[in-house]
């Protein structure tokens, strides 16, 4: 960069020095020969409006972070537990309720089975958690089910896993948000009317928090998670204490309670209850997907966090179910605004004292947190998919705050749409949820089995056993969930996954195709251009914009001609006279267009030029230099350049043709043209 130099005198007569200005300094920084790094100021907008927008953005999502600042965004185990496990742990806030909802169909007596079902689910959880601990170790780069299935099974299975995962993440946001709203309604039933608005607002808030970047999310959300976990443990402990001491007495039914059904407690109903309850497992995979966000040693920290999370979840889920049963708690009707099961359970410990409200608030918050988990995981997976060419590239770009902005916004949009569609009612969303989750579980377990069989590291046998049993169990559950819930929404997932996979493959093929066309072979040396060049300038009249365009044209080639398309022969003659006098050396071609068309004759003229080119010579590159007046505001934009725009569109696909816009800014010249009278 060349800067001005200012001579300065020194104290002594002959001491001179020269100050060298550094024009690059505010915008760039040298890091090596011929290598610049753009500073924040370089991407600052230069217009007042742009600057204002940037300032708003800065207020909303914070100052941009440089890529090097990422290492500071790594999570400690405590923060990671808050962020990643909230998904799983928070499901204890609604999983029990989902079991009960199925069982009430078989009458009050059937509720007893809920404990057995919850224990069965806890066992399943233990197996899955053990399996995923191994995933953390084997795939420290994250990606979870997708990475495992893709590298260990087949790309197609990987894509299926990815599709399932994406659905899972979207559903997590939808379910958690709606459940959180349920919790808030439990303490403030008046909110019931605003259920959807409330949910959407929450998603917006979480979106903004995430656009600000990962570290701050950790800080924002750590407190409620630990508060929920702490209070929930207190509730379970007090409930168990009451059961042991025989103080647990059935609560009176709340007015919104569902009425008991009369179905018989058959295998189908049991399986259905199990399938509904298995929603407790959702989110278990989050940690395995987010391993790179951990502080080093990443894999080890992630695996340990996973264990802590699974134990907490198991204890809370089973505990809540046991307490709920002991107090004979029955869920409220869908969308009635009645208290949730977890709220009723909390009431057994805290009554309606302040702690009850604190707990409900914490529950709502941890559910929002759970939604937030997806905001971490979804964009990450989308970015990995984008890198592999299965998703549009912008999903792989990180925004000012190092967050994958596109992924975050896409997730928020889809989840919000789902919420609106289902009226914000949690139960209706659940069937869509579980299927996707279990597809992932099964695929990643299978992948791990392949992994151990392939590598045969020490202890591969028992590791295989763990993953194989996990795979079988989750596969069975998957089949059960999909079949028993097929009619109540699971079918959607069955359709959605293949559709998504098809889209992935389509995008990939597009990228592959364009890459193939654009690729330059590694051994190809670019030679100086050898094609001849000629320039055509379509002109509307003689004005400064045209003069400037002519100057540009002459710098491109000596073969320059101006083309004037006119429907008025007199005007054409006048222009020709003026042109030859004022722009000597550039031949003017007047095309009379009796039908007043403009673009057509222009392209036709270019065709004729091409045809006139000697066939034995390589076709020349034709530059079409379009003089353009730069509009300064919206109405000028309407007034000017409409023809230029149409012409540009018409020429876009023409072979060997380059369209050059020569913008003319009015500010550039302040003195009027000194030359003679114009037409």
């Amino acid at each position: 960069m060349i800067g001005g130099r200012r001579p300065l005198a020194g104290r002594k007569l002959a001491d001179r020095r020269v100050r060298v200005e550094r024009p690059h300094a505010p915008f760039f920084r040298y890091t090596g020969p011929g290598q610049l790094v753009a500073r924040e100021a370089a991407s600052m907008p230069t217009t007042p409006a742009g600057r204002f927008a940037a300032r708003l953005k800065k207020i909303a999502i914070g100052r941009p972070l440089a890529s090097e600042e990422e290492i500071g965004e790594r999570l400690s185990k405590k923060k990671a537990l808050a962020i990643f496990s909230s998904d799983a742990i928070s499901s204890s806030a609604y999983a029990t309720e989902e079991i009960l909802r199925v069982l009430v169909l078989a009458g009050a007596g059937a509720l007893l089975v809920s404990i057995e079902i919850s224990i069965a689910i806890a066992v399943l959880l233990a197996v899955v958690a053990l399996s995923y601990r191994q995933v953390c170790r084997a795939f420290p780069n994250g990606g979870g089910a997708y990475a495992v299935a893709r590298s260990e099974l087949s790309p197609l299975l990987g894509l299926i896993a990815a599709a399932a995962l994406l659905i899972d993440y979207v559903m997590t946001v939808a379910v958690s948000t709606s459940s959180a709203v349920d919790q808030l309604i439990s303490i403030a039933p008046a909110l019931n009317a605003l259920r959807i608005e409330f949910a959407i607002d929450s998603i917006t808030l979480i979106t903004i928090a995430n656009l600000r970047g990962l570290r701050e999310s950790g800080n924002i959300f750590a407190v409620p998670t630990y508060m929920f976990v702490g209070l929930a443990l207190v509730i379970v402990a007090s409930g168990v204490f009451h059961i042991i001491t025989g103080q647990a007495t059935p609560l009176p039914r709340q007015p919104e309670a569902v009425s008991f059904g009369t179905e018989t407690l058959g295998v189908f109903l049991l399986l259905k209850a199990f399938a509904s309850g298995s929603v407790a497992l959702t989110g278990t995979e989050a940690i395995a997907n987010g391993v790179p966000a951990f502080k080093p040693p990443e894999a080890r920290n992630a695996a340990n966090t996973l264990t802590v999370m699974a134990v907490l979840l198991g204890v809370l889920f089973v505990g809540v179910t046991v307490v709920a049963h002991a107090y004979d708690i029955v869920p409220s009707r869908d969308g009635s605004g009645g208290p949730t099961v977890i709220a009723l359970v909390a009431g057994t410990a805290f009554g309606s004292g302040p702690l009850f409200y604190v707990f409900q608030l914490a529950t709502a918050l941890i559910l929002f947190l759970a939604a937030n988990t997806s905001f971490n995981a979804f964009p990450r997976l989308a970015a990995i998919l984008a890198e592999d060419g299965y998703m549009p590239r912008p999903f792989g770009f990180r925004g000012d705050r190092l967050a994958y902005s596109w992924g975050i916004i896409a997730l928020a949009a889809i989840a919000a749409a789902l919420l609106v569609y289902f009226g914000g009612i949690t139960t209706l969303l659940i069937p869509l949820y579980s299927v996707g989750v279990f597809v992932c579980f099964t695929l990643s377990q299978l992948g791990m089995v392949r992994h151990w069989l392939r590598l045969r590291e020490s202890g591969w046998a028992w590791r295989t056993a763990i993953n194989a049993s996990g795979a079988i169990l989750t596969a069975v559950v998957l089949v059960v969930v999909a079949s028993v819930k097929f009619t109540s929404g699971a079918y959607l997932v069955v359709i959605l996954i293949p559709m998504q996979v098809a889209v992935f493959l389509f995008i990939r093929r597009q990228y592959e195709a364009s890459r193939e066309k654009l690729t330059v072979r590694g051994d190809f040396v670019v030679k100086p251009p050898h094609r001849e060049e000629r320039v055509v300038i379509p002109i509307p009249t003689i004005n400064r914009a045209v003069v400037q365009a002519v100057n540009v044209a002459r710098s491109i080639s000596d073969d320059v001609r101006a083309v004037f398309i006119s429907d008025d022969p007199d005007a054409a003659a006048e222009l020709r006279e003026r042109w030859e006098r004022q722009v000597p050396g550039v031949p003017l071609v007047v095309v009379e267009s009796p039908y007043r068309a403009l673009v057509g004759p222009m392209t036709a003229y270019l065709d004729v030029l091409d045809r006139a080119w000697p066939p034995d010579k390589e076709a020349p590159i034709t530059f079409v230099v379009i003089p353009e007046y730069v509009a300064r505001n919206w109405w000028e934009r309407i007034l000017y350049n409409q023809v230029a725009r149409r012409l540009r569109t018409a020429l876009l696909g023409r072979p060997h043709t380059v369209v050059v816009n020569v913008p003319y800014r009015r500010e550039e010249a302040t003195t009027p043209e000194p030359e003679g009278p114009g037409p």
Partner: protein, 153 residues
């Protein structure tokens, strides 16, 4: 808490850069000290122009290496969350230019790094700039000698 009036070391300091490893050290040091009194820092890099070229020849402005010296100083200061104003000079003599610049900037401190060098493996070499600055600078001068490298200690 000591009386701040008594402990103010400087209000505006010129930090002389030489493009070597000591630059980052003295910038960090200067930023650390300056922070206490919100003192201003000016990083000055003087490119010595030999007599075969005119003093205002286009040399420093074109040299990326030279620019990098200042960029690095600015970056180091930013790392310490402090601002440093970079100045690039061309002169016939580094010492004279530093002294003149410090005078013009009304600096009350001139901070120089001194790389540890031995001349022809013998005596410790101090060069000519530091004696010149010590003799002529109107303000206080702080010379920070870099630690002796392990192998020659």
């Amino acid at each position: 808490m000591p009386n701040p009036e008594q402990t103010v070391v400087f209000r505006r300091a010129v930090v002389a850069l030489n493009g070597g490893s000591s630059d980052a050290r003295i910038v960090r040091l200067a930023a650390g000290v300056a922070r206490q009194w919100k003192a201003e820092l000016v990083a000055v890099h003087v490119v010595e122009i030999d007599w075969t070229q005119p003093l205002d020849a286009d040399i420093a402005g074109r040299s990326e290496d030279v620019q990098r010296v200042l960029d690095l100083a600015e970056e180091t200061a930013e790392d310490c969350q402090y601002k440093i104003e970079p100045v690039l000079l061309q002169a016939r003599d580094v010492g004279a230019a530093l002294v003149d610049e410090a005078t013009e900037q009304r600096a009350d401190m001139l901070i120089l790094g001194l790389p540890y060098r031995k001349r022809f493996g013998g005596d410790f070499a101090i060069g000519s700039t530091i004696p010149y600055v010590l003799k002529n600078a109107p303000c206080a001068v702080w010379v920070v000698r870099e630690p002796i490298p392990e192998e020659s200690a």
